[in-house]
Subunit: 102 residues, 2 copies
């Protein structure tokens, strides 16, 4: 039996996390809720692409979008429990990068 047959979930997880910017978006949010503008200024990514990635992560239930009815309206992105669950994986990648990448 193939690995992919054994591990369709692992395959899906790799595709989800591995998509360009997705890991770094989650990494940012592990630090706490962020406004769209904060994330945009912290990543060398267009607003359009960041918005697309955030929508994908919302659809996957990894990120939640919270609207605060203030003036002006404040919108924040935060990790759900599913998103927080990625902490060990992201930490593992970060630790590895510190040891092995120059």
């Amino acid at each position: 039996m193939s690995e992919v047959e054994l591990c369709p979930r692992l395959s899906k997880a790799m595709d989800l996390i591995g998509k360009r910017w997705t890991g770094l978006i989650i990494y940012q949010l592990l630090d706490g809720p962020k406004r769209f503008s904060e994330m945009e200024s912290a990543l060398p990514v267009s607003g359009r692409l960041l918005s697309e990635r955030l929508k994908e992560l919302e659809k996957e239930g990894v990120v939640a979008r919270k609207v605060y009815e203030e003036a002006p309206v404040r919108v924040e992105y935060t990790l759900t429990s599913k998103g927080e669950g990625l902490k060990a994986a992201i930490d593992g990648i970060e630790q590895w990068s510190k040891v092995w990448l120059s």
Copy 2:
């Protein structure tokens, strides 16, 4: 200062691991050395693409290619120490996928 400025290595690590098939190739090799044909039959990927990914991982120092001078010649792929270092990250992704993906 941006996250990417703070974490160029994390960004590079995400790009490396996130590339399609790369994570699953490393996952397979965490189980032990594999011949090319074993990996090819275990992943729904063309031989050409698998070969390309393995060459990239060799170049990054994550995978080593060992040639055994038998008849016929046997070629095996194995993780280097740098590759083994990804175990925690891959385990983290696998655990998360078991809990959160259906």
